[in-house]
Subunit: 424 residues, 2 copies
Amino acid sequence: MRSRIRVNLPVEEMPKKWYNVKADLPFKLDPPLHPATQQPMKPEELSRIFPPSIVEQEATEERFVEIPEEVLEEYVVFRPTPLIRATFLEEYLQTPARIYYKYEGTSPTGSHKTNTALAQAFYNAKDGIKRLVTETGAGQWGSALSYAGRKFGLEVKVFMVRISYEQKPMRKYMMNLFDGTVTPSPSELTSSGKKFLSQDPSHPGSLGIAISEAIEEVMADPNTRYSLGSVLDHVLLHQTVIGLEIEKQLELIGEKPTIVMGCHGGGSNFGGTVLPFIPRKLAGENIRFVACEPESCPTLTKGEFRYDSGDSAGFTPLIKMYTLGKEFVPPKIHAGGLRYHGSAPIIARLVHEGIIEAESFDQEKTFEAARLFAKLEGIIPAPEAAHAIAGAIKEAIAAKEEKREEVIVFTLSGHGLMDLTAYV
Amino acid sequence: MRSRIRVNLPVEEMPKKWYNVKADLPFKLDPPLHPATQQPMKPEELSRIFPPSIVEQEATEERFVEIPEEVLEEYVVFRPTPLIRATFLEEYLQTPARIYYKYEGTSPTGSHKTNTALAQAFYNAKDGIKRLVTETGAGQWGSALSYAGRKFGLEVKVFMVRISYEQKPMRKYMMNLFDGTVTPSPSELTSSGKKFLSQDPSHPGSLGIAISEAIEEVMADPNTRYSLGSVLDHVLLHQTVIGLEIEKQLELIGEKPTIVMGCHGGGSNFGGTVLPFIPRKLAGENIRFVACEPESCPTLTKGEFRYDSGDSAGFTPLIKMYTLGKEFVPPKIHAGGLRYHGSAPIIARLVHEGIIEAESFDQEKTFEAARLFAKLEGIIPAPEAAHAIAGAIKEAIAAKEEKREEVIVFTLSGHGLMDLTAYV
């Protein structure tokens, strides 16, 4: 018997705290700067964009942050998520590596995004906010926030990158089902949207532009706040529930990971997966971290490590990150969730310090990996997640060639059921 | 705290045997009859349609049938599936009933159909068959069999009811991804297809017609067999893995079900859910079983209990069941998987004996239930599964009005992510 392994963690074992890697890093991160003054942002300046609880959480140095009861109850809708050994893939590759994947696609909206969406909606509601505005690429984040907003009684408005809006109409239906409203971006609703449309009336859009539009809307209404699906420290914090579960699941079956991987767009699913394992590396353990990104949007592999704006119009604080430049408009690849010019500052710094590696994969190779995975392992991956699969396959083949035993773990961040047109 | 419950059964607890209710019934079922002679079908006659292992399984009287090792390994891709207490729905309804749902939507193709598809593909491959032909309504069964065929090295051809083919193009992409080929039915490929097209060139199709077409194809090639996704005894047998898991999951949390429910089309998810609980009722326990079907295709509630053909052209054996008549063409409702004129003979007989109840729900009410469930519980249900939700809500409201404590359990047979157009 192939002894296929699936670790269904009992719900009592679900983590009750998020992990904050900043408490364990031997260095301090560079602070976000005010876009006008270039001085470190003060908390009160940030609180026009985010509610006080989130501003506080963004800056906290505590090692563990308690997950509120209300958020835990929502997590139980879909958590703990399974950890599965990809025995069929291993056999196909004839690799000595053992490959495990953490599957986040069973969440209400089909990806890991729900982990932070629920937390953010909860904190906004608690702080008296009535309405959230956000952007979305492939639609994963927009649907997660629509769902979470509905759960905590907030209105949600989503600017969706136009090319994804056209490629993935089902995502719009899903957001509407959860009472979210959706506008393709660039739009005529904001001055930044208008600016980009005047340059190109059929502009495909980008996450950077959609963020600019969302922030413009936020500034126009004092009861509205902005919500970001990736990049920032508090978002990565919320996503650590993934890596913390992986830790427990591997422990249950007596495995120690040697390579931990994920796809990388803004860095939230990747950070959520690897950050809880960073202390092992700092302590000298044999463990590698690999961020897998698209060749056509190679932020970590070809970007510069410097301060840049998080959005295209320059409204957000400046953050120290790897960036392709805020004006960069990525090609119309199917992995819309990875079409971002920047990266999470935590991940960027860890890449810069040589603690995390980054690698890029072309679209053809990632879809090939995705098709293979679907047929062997029975999950149709989101195009974003397919980058992690391509990465895991590459490492498994290297292990075979070099006759190394490895324990590869990656997060399959979401299913691709709304992306099936990209497969044909 | 609301104490939301989710039972993630450890994989070691997955049932290793299917349960055969026929061993425990106080009566014998009426045998299938040859369509020409009207005499009981002989096993050798059936084996032109099904492989020997399936023919044998269809007739077995054993109480438990071992699940082959190879099928168990495939089950671990997605099983055990979770049992979840619908606390948010309970609160909304303010019902004293406790409502649990078994969620089968996390399977590779998104529904319970994979449970029998994998078993059938395995047995066909073991018996040397090279190619399977089948029909599909909403596409759940066609995708499940395409996936399973791919896993066990069989070619799969699917006749898909034309109206669903047009309503759900993503299902076609999914079948193609798993190397299945798909033809809308009625088609020009078979004489029965041609006959129905000549009556109406834009014929919406029906499961009965698609079955006729599939059987015609099977008869034309000695290396091809037919595979059915519902109705027959062996299909319900394979699906009992659902009810057997529910039994263990409820036991783990100390609950005893008083109402067990499911949607009913051909009877496979419903049978798989309730059959393991039938002995409790026969032993006099306080437990009810309710089959939920569409008002527009009211097989169990308005059909006749008699011998009828399983397909529209009259190629299949005659089976004793509730039927609306093999010529019945159901209206174009979105729950394509429930558009069948007949029913599983086991379920039919249990309804006839008063052991199982049946109730019908209109399309508007079921979509209302589905939308509510999605917003509260975070799962977008398939239109078929929405009938079970409508049923559970009705029972929960009755329990409230009559101040009864009930433990309602239903199977949510699949997700509705490929059906989102039906929601708008």
